[in-house]
Each structure stands twice: as C-alpha cells, then as structure tokens.
C-alpha cells in the first residue's frame, strides 16, 4: 500500500508538470486557434538556457533567464509566423508550428548531443519522508510550485483583463475585436505565458528522479498531448484533470510494470495514448471540453 501511495504521489507530481505544458496548449489554442506543436522545442529551449547559465549565475537567476528565453522564443514565433494571419486556416498555422519544431528541435538536439545536463537546483537528489511515503524532494517542489502557478494562472484567467479578453476571443474572435479587444496583444501574451510555463515544466522534467535534461526531453512534452485531449482542448480545468490522470496512469503502469510484463515494455508512453483513445471513443471533445455546436 505504501508503494501504491508513493506511485500516486509521484504520478500527481508528474501530472502537474504535464499540466503546466497542457495549460500552454490550451491558452494558445484559445487565443489563436493554433495547436502549438513547437511546445516541445520551446520547453527544450528554455530548459537548455537554464542548464547553460546555472554554473555561472546560480539556479534562480538562471531559471529567470531561462523563463525569459522560453517566453521570448514563443513571442518571436508568434510575432513572426502567426500574427496578422487571421484569414489563414488554423490548420495551416498548426503545420507551420510543426515546421518550427523541426528546425528548433534539431538545432537544440545537435547542441545538447549526448550530454545529460543538470540544473543545480537546490533540492538535489534527496528523498523526503512524507508520513509513510518516501518521495524525491524535487517532485514535492514540482507539485508545490506547479500548484501555485496553476492557481495564479486560474486567477489571472478569471479576473485580469487579459484573461477576460482571452476568453472573449475564444468565444468569438470577431465580436471581441469589434468590442475593442486587441487580438494581437491577447495572442502575444498567450504565447509568452505558454513559453514561460513550458520552460518551468522542462526544468522539473530534468530534475530527480530523471537523470537530467537530454536531447529527447522535448519528446516528453508530447505526453501533454494526451493530457490535453483527455481534458478537452478548450478547457483549463481539463488541462489540470487530464495532466493528473495521465501522470498517475503512467506512474502506476511504470511501477507495476513487472506484473504487466505480458503487455510488453516500456508501457508508460503507450499507456497515455491508450487512455486518450478510450476517452475519445467515449467523449470526442474530452472530459471537460465543450461539445462543438455547429450553427449554419
């Protein structure tokens, strides 16, 4: 039972990391109708910058620079490639982000090569006792910081004028523009927020229990896709729920892999997608997504 509890705690913390990435997807798709396939390489960009600067500057300044870099990268993608192209179909913009991802990911892959980068985070690799459970400190930090960020995001989304403007844009972009909402600014902030959140998620993904940031860390961000689809692409609540569901499922499947050996190895990645397919069969728009109503 202790083992089960530890797996769930680890899964929840992994889930909140996915949530950070998933919130980025949701907010970008709400503001611009684009699915950002470059999220993985944005994550890698920010985390890579943190890893580069942490030796000379220390963890916190490096983290701030990394967040700024991730946000700036996202802003540039938005400003150069997506902005002002409202009449282009969102699918075309989505494919553009795939193109960005190919270029950015292969450049970062090349730079990172075979290295395993560390961040010099203050938590180290220590474990901590939490009642009967032993959990890596970094994972506790990930949960706490993620929850703070998620709450902050929700408050901003609900109460600030940017949040209201974004929700209005998602509801009906043209009407929002006619009401004086500057869609370009809404979109820019959405991308910046997504880039910053992705960077933080990237740093947490590279901390204990994983060995560090590698050139395939951006692929882990792909696990946020099932999280988003499970929760519903247009729902911020769904991003949290989907992230946690996927995180817990992956952690449990990993933890009991010896009992599940008949299903083959490794199971954690494919389990996320199986959950996603099952949810899609049951509810095509996700658990919390609004069913698309088509008016003629």
């Amino acid at each position: 039972m202790t083992y089960f509890g530890e797996l769930v705690i680890n899964g929840v913390s992994l889930g909140f990391i996915y949530t950070l990435i998933a919130l980025g997807f949701v907010v970008i798709s709400q503001a611009t109708e684009v699915i950002n396939f470059a999220q993985g390489s944005m994550l890698l960009l920010g985390a890579y910058v943190v890893a580069v600067f942490h030796t000379s500057l220390g963890f916190v300044p490096a983290l701030l620079i990394g967040i700024a870099a991730g946000a700036l990268g996202a802003f540039l993608i938005q400003a150069i490639l997506v902005r002002g192209r409202g009449r282009v179909d969102p699918t075309a913009l989505t494919i553009i982000t795939i193109g960005v991802d190919i270029v950015l990911a292969s450049e970062l892959n090349r730079r990172i090569g075979q290295q395993v980068l560390s961040f010099g985070a203050p938590w180290g690799d220590n474990d901590v006792k939490l009642g009967p459970f032993t959990v890596p400190q970094a994972r506790i930090a990930a949960v706490v910081i993620s929850i703070v960020l998620v709450i902050g995001f929700f408050l901003a989304y609900k109460f600030t004028s940017w949040g209201i403007a974004t929700r209005a844009t998602a509801e009906d972009g043209e009407a929002a523009a006619l009401m004086g909402i500057r869609r370009g600014r809404v979109a820019a902030i959405a991308w910046v927020v997504a880039g910053a959140l992705a960077t933080i998620a990237g740093v947490f993904l590279g901390l204990s229990p994983s060995p560090g940031l590698t050139n395939t860390s951006n692929l882990t961000a792909l696990n946020a896709f099932p999280a988003v689809v499970v929760g519903g692409l247009d729902s911020t609540t769904g991003a949290v729920a989907g992230g946690v569901i996927i995180g817990v499922v992956q952690s449990l499947v990993d933890g009991y892999s010896s009992q599940l050996a008949f299903l083959g190895q490794p199971l954690s990645e494919v389990s996320a997608y199986v959950v996603m397919l099952l949810v899609l069969l049951w509810r095509p728009s996700g658990l919390f997504g609004t069913r698309e109503a088509i008016r003629v």
Binding site: I96, G99, L222, V270, P284, V296
Partner: protein
C-alpha cells in the same frame, strides 16, 4: 478556341521524356542513385496517400508512419518463413507468394484504417491530427513487442519480391540488358516505377472525379457538403481507408528497399517527414506530392553522400552541422516558407512559371479560365486558394 498544336503537345512530350528518362536511368547510374530512386518511389506512393486525406479532404493525419509499418511488416510476415534471427527470437511467417502477400498487406492497412473510423469520422482537422498521434505510439509499442511478427528492435528480413517465378534478386534468373547486369536494385527500380505510376493515375482519377470534389467540399465546409448530399462521415472514413492503403503499399516497397525494416524507423518523425513532403509539394496536388516526396527523401541522402565535398557540413563524429541536421533546417524552413507565402508548394510554383510563359495578353482568355490551361490542371490561382483553405 483551340490552341496551337505545339502548346497542347508540349506537356505530353515532357511527360514522355520524363518517362523514358526514368526507364533508362538504371542502365547508367551508380547503385547509390538506384537506391535513392527506390526510396523516392516508395515515398511518393505514401505521400500521394497522405495528400488524399490531408491535402484533398483537409484532415490532418499524423498516423501515416503506423500504416507504412503495417504494410512493411504485413508483407514481411505473410511472405516470410519461420526463421531464427538471433537473440533467441524466431519470427513466424506464412510463406505466401509475394504478390499475394503484397496485396494482402495493402488490404490489411486499409482494414486497420477502417477500424480507426469510429474516431476518424467524428473528428475534424487538427483534432484528428492529435488523435492519430495515438496510433503512431501504439504502433511503436506493438512493433517492438510483437517479436514473432516483426522481429522486435532489430526488425526482420523481408522476403524478396517475385512475380510468376521471376524473382527480384541479384541472380535468379540472371538477367543482362544491353550489357548491364540487372541485379536486385535494377529490378526493384522498375517494380517501384510501375507501382508509383499506377498509384499516381489512380489518385489523379480519384481527385478529379466525384470523390475528389466531395472531399474538397468537406474540407471547405462540412455543413455545405452535407447539404449538397455528400455523406460526410462515409467519405471521411473512406478517404482515411484509401490513404492507409497507399501507405501500406509504400510500406511494402520500403520493406523491399531496406531488405530489413526496423521498427524504430516507423516513428513520429516519419509521419512528420511525410507531412513535410505534401506541404512542400503543394497540398491537394498529386503531382506536388510526388515532387515533395522526391525532394524530402533525396535531400538528406544526397547531402550525406556528398558531405565530403561540402565544406559547410560536419563529418560524422565532428561537432557542427551534419547532413541530417542541415536537411532538417531546409525542409523545416521550406514548410514555413510555403505556408507563409500561401503558394501551392512546388506544384503551385510550376503552374505559376508555366502561366508566365504560356499566356500572352493578346491571345489569352481570362487567366482564371480553367480551359486555358493546356493540361486541364487547376491553374495556380486555384492552387493558391487550396493552400489558403487547408
């Protein structure tokens, strides 16, 4: 208003020259180029298929690698025999005649595409793209674990193709044409060429005919399509099945070309590569899909082949930009440029150039008149429009 004879004959002459060129090329070029051509033929078939679902019907699919894998391993399994491949793994096989195995593998890919239809017909555009991601990862998992069928991580050998006793191997029976010994590569070249031409013609007919019109209407507006009497769900599921079958055939050719397909090859990266092909070639254009396939397939192979003499590329083991990275930059950048410029890719470029040279203001009918276009293809205006609307 009839056009001068030469202007009508010119494009046909062009196709004829291209065909003759492709027919005689194996007599002259080195094995590297034959291998390259084989990969291009296979990729072209796959790209034509993806183009049907993504370009014509407007449904983003990232599952193409999965269906390619079904073709490749379906063929290897059905045509192969029971062999130990080392590492304590024994792969099973059915020992079917290769032609039958090829047809069955294509049918199998189509059938799996049909199984996905409860999801594929309910989702639209980008959402289908996200859902289809699941198939790629599911496929990777099965390929790595179903060792009796796929051979696991190191893959399994594909049975050489044979047709009525004539095998596509180096020396059974020995064959020499014009003093050039016809080995496996030369024989497979012609197989690939024939299959690609058939796939091309079939897709052209499909796209120009009633199904193509229905799919384009679905892409542009599903409700309008339904109102016009198009059975939207059936057409979407059907397009997915046909595109999967194309991928299956391409997979068989890839298995034959590689001789030993490994599961790792059929990952998400491959799906994205195919997407790159059809975007660069021009979405919705069958010719564009072939051109894009040739470009995206050939670029990294040629850069690697000549990396010794290209000073800006790093050698293996050196730090710096290697051929694979460099071609990634080029085709990633090409995707962005094509979509930003809103041109119909390579196909749109060809049309634009042709119009520049064939239409003269004094004799020309309005440029948008489709009859003016000598081959009856859509003019570049409509290609541009297609690019905007996907």
């Amino acid at each position: 208003m009839s056009e001068p004879l030469w202007r009508r004959a010119l494009p046909r002459l062009g196709w004829l020259v291209l065909l003759i060129l492709l027919l005689v090329l194996p007599l002259y070029v080195a094995p590297f180029w034959e291998q390259l051509g084989l990969f291009v033929f296979a990729a072209a078939i796959g790209a034509i298929g993806l183009n049907l679902i993504t370009g014509t019907a407007g449904q983003l699919s990232l599952a193409h690698a999965f269906f390619l894998a079904i073709g490749a391993y379906g063929y290897s399994y059905l045509a192969g025999g029971q062999v130990g491949i080392g590492g304590g793994i024994t792969v099973q096989g059915r020992g079917w005649p290769p032609l039958l195995a090829m047809i069955a593998a294509v049918a199998m890919a189509g059938f799996v595409g049909l199984l996905f239809s409860p999801i594929s017909r309910r989702l639209r555009g980008i959402y289908l793209g996200l859902a289809s991601l699941a198939l790629v990862f599911l496929g990777q998992h099965v390929l790595q674990n179903a060792k009796a069928v796929t051979g696991g991580f190191y893959g399994r050998n594909a049975q050489p193709f044979s047709l009525f006793g004539f095998t596509f191997t180096d020396d059974d029976p020995p064959l020499t044409v014009l003093n050039v010994p016809f080995g496996q590569l030369e024989r497979l070249w012609y197989l690939g060429l024939v299959l690609m031409i058939l796939a091309y013609l079939f897709a052209q007919n499909l796209v120009r005919g009633r199904p193509g019109r229905a799919l384009r209407t679905i892409r542009d507006n599903e409700i309008a399509a339904a109102v016009m009497g198009v059975n939207v769900r059936r057409y979407k599921a059907g397009a997915f099945v046909v595109s999967s079958m194309y991928a299956g055939l391409a997979g068989v050719l890839i298995a034959l070309a590689f001789q030993r397909p490994v599961p790792d090859y059929f990952g998400l990266q491959l799906s994205i590569t195919y997407l790159a092909m059809i975007v660069i070639g021009g979405l919705g254009s069958v010719r564009g899909a072939v051109a894009g396939a040739a470009f995206v397939t050939a670029l990294p192979l040629i850069l690697t082949h000549y990396s010794d003499s290209l000073p800006f590329l790093a050698q293996p083991g050196q730090s710096g930009v290697g051929p694979a990275d460099f071609s990634n930059y080029i085709y990633g950048g090409a995707i962005i440029l094509v979509l930003l410029a809103q041109k119909g890719g390579l196909a749109g470029l060809v049309n634009a150039v042709r119009e520049r040279f064939t239409s003269r203001p004094d004799t020309a009918a309005p440029r948008t008149n489709p009859q003016h276009d000598p081959t009856g293809h859509a003019s570049s205006e409509s290609a541009n429009k297609e690019a905007q609307q996907i």
